[in-house]
């Protein structure tokens, strides 16, 4: 079943056509990768999906319903979560608080109950804290849980960001270059996390990544963009062999 679909999306900034009639569809339960040269428009697609950019033209469908006009926070409530290319964590807060924020949409505490604390608010805090701790265990970041994220090393921040997105309990997870800045071992961990999230939590993953080793290995389908246009879409093996993709993106060398 198609869970997320983009139909003929156009987006421009001044004279630059960032997206030029892009269409793609993501099936429920798959790992879908978007690749393409720098400036091809990958992040822009994510921004359109999560509602930070509104396309000039075209439709974005989530579970068959158009979400073009929804504001970003509403889309999050529908089950769309993402990470960012330039880490966008809340730098002043601890890891736990960042993840607890991921739980925001699932919590109900308001200005009154929160201020009173005892009773409702505390119970809710504890319940969600348990969920968050589970994610912390899953991502193996126990030892940094009370550190301010701003002081963490780059790679760890990426992991925390994944955790925050996960805390939303999303149905579709958009990950923008999750492996950037990781060495082989950490890349492996991250890949494992993504696979686990996909398999065990039944989350559909849309992935932007430049590490071809990972992309070709873990994704079910890949879409390639260049200059805002889709130049190919298909199984990893097809993409790898596509001369257009090789010329624009992969280069001649073997992987």
């Amino acid at each position: 079943m198609i869970i997320l679909e983009l139909k003929d999306i156009y987006l421009h900034f001044g004279g630059i056509m960032a997206l030029n009639g892009v269409s793609l569809d993501v099936r429920e339960g798959e790992i879908f990768a978007i690749i393409g040269p720098n400036g091809a428009g990958k992040t822009s697609i994510f921004n359109c999906i999560s509602g930070l950019y509104s396309p000039d033209r075209g439709q974005i469908l989530y579970k068959g319903k158009e979400i073009n006009r929804l504001s970003p926070f509403k889309r999050a409530q529908l089950g769309l979560a993402r990470s960012f290319q330039n880490i966008e964590l809340f730098r002043g807060m601890t890891v736990i608080d960042n993840l607890m924020l991921g739980r925001h949409i699932h919590m109900r505490t308001n200005l009154f109950t929160g201020g009173l604390w005892f009773g409702k608010a505390r119970g809710e805090e504890i319940r969600h804290r348990e969920i968050v701790e589970e994610i912390i265990d899953f991502l193996e970041i126990q030892d940094i849980r009370k550190k301010a994220v701003g002081t963490l090393a780059y790679g760890l921040q990426k992991r925390v960001e994944l955790g925050r997105a996960l805390a939303l309990d999303p149905q579709v997870l958009l990950l923008d270059e999750p492996m950037a800045g990781m060495n082989a071992e950490e890349t492996e961990d991250m890949a494992r996390f993504i696979l686990d999230i996909n398999e065990e939590r039944d989350v559909t993953v849309v992935l932007i990544e430049h590490d071809m080793g990972v992309v070709m290995d873990i994704s079910d389908r890949i879409c390639t963009l260049d200059f805002g246009e889709r130049i190919s879409m298909g199984k990893p093996a097809e993409i790898q062999a596509d001369p257009k993709v090789i010329a624009a993106y992969l280069g001649e060398e073997e992987l």
Binding site: F13, G14, I16, I35, G36, P37, N38, G39, A40, K42, T43, Q85, N86, I87, E140, T151, L152, A153, Y154, G155, L156, E177, A180, G181, M182, N183, A184, E185, E186, T187, E188, A191, R192, L195, H210, M212, G213, V214, D217, I218, A248, Y249, L250, G251, E253
Partner: protein, 277 residues
């Protein structure tokens, strides 16, 4: 520590860190006696896990720690035979040390051209700067069409190109590169490393390279250091390093037999091997 390669043995290192300790916020000890030598004309790679302290090392060298509540509390940093611990960061740039910071720190509100001009701040000759600018645009044609766009609007990869271009504009003697390949498309990664190699060979720029993409890094480096938890745990000429089993496994992503494996096959959570723990 093992001795550096024999051919450079007699020479004075252009940069040398001796037992450097760095503390953040007065309490967090990050570098715990870090030592490292870089010889003129070399490309030296510095590898290590997330949080090992690689970026911190570079910042200690360029003097940019101060802005982040960090402080070198012990040990010494020598550049061209002189201790530079007391030298202001901007002075270090005019002495020839230039750092490309992690995470594409471009000037958002300046356009691409102005960013490049800012990179050439310490240089006098306007005509040379102009020429180098054309060179940079030659390297990164993608930037040419975005010349008058504010850098903040560029895509991640474009910003990374700009950050590297800016470093080229400075024509440093010692370039500190913090993950130059971050977020770049594979094709471009290759190109960037070619460029790095070229300025090293042609201009004689010494390069200290922090890079997670160890395969590419080691392919152009002369000498490699591996750091963990604030210390150097291994250093060797690259050829030797590449043969090390641990390096192969953890940094090059090769299993014992030397071929690639699928991520789907990796079983859960192997215990990691660490040099120190």
């Amino acid at each position: 520590m093992t001795e550096p390669a024999t051919d450079t043995k007699k020479k004075q290192p252009i940069l040398s860190l001796n037992n450097v300790e760095v503390i953040y916020d007065d309490v967090i000890l990050v570098l715990k006696g870090m030592s490292l030598d870089v010889y003129e004309g070399q490309i030296v790679a510095l590898l290590g896990a997330n949080g090992a302290g690689k970026s911190t090392t570079l910042k200690a060298i360029s003097g940019l720690l101060k802005g982040e509540e960090g402080e070198v509390t012990d040990g010494s940093i020598t550049y061209m035979g002189q201790p530079i611990d007391a030298v202001d960061p901007e002075k270090r740039v005019s002495m020839g040390i230039f750092q490309v910071m992690e995470g594409r720190r471009v000037f958002d509100d300046l356009n691409v051209d102005e960013n490049l001009y800012a990179g050439a701040h310490t240089r006098k000759s306007r005509s040379e700067v102009k020429r180098d600018m054309e060179m940079v645009f030659g390297y990164f044609p993608r930037l040419t069409e975005r010349r008058h766009t504010l850098a903040g609007y560029l895509s991640g990869g474009e910003q990374q190109m700009l950050a590297i271009g800016r470093a080229l504009m400075a024509r440093p003697r010692l370039m500190l590169l913090d993950e130059p390949s971050l977020g770049l498309a594979p094709l471009l990664v290759k190109e960037i490393f070619e460029i790095i190699n070229r300025i090293n060979k042609e201009e004689g720029t010494t390069i200290l390279l922090v890079e997670q993409n160890a395969r590419v890094a080691l392919s152009i480096a002369d000498y490699g250091y591996i750091m963990e938890n604030g210390k150097i745990v291994m250093d060797d000429p690259v050829d030797k390093l590449k043969e090390n089993e641990d390096v192969k496994e953890f940094y090059l992503g090769l299993s014992k037999v030397g071929d690639r494996k699928s991520y789907r096959d990796v079983k859960h959570y192997r215990r990691r091997k660490r040099w120190i723990s």
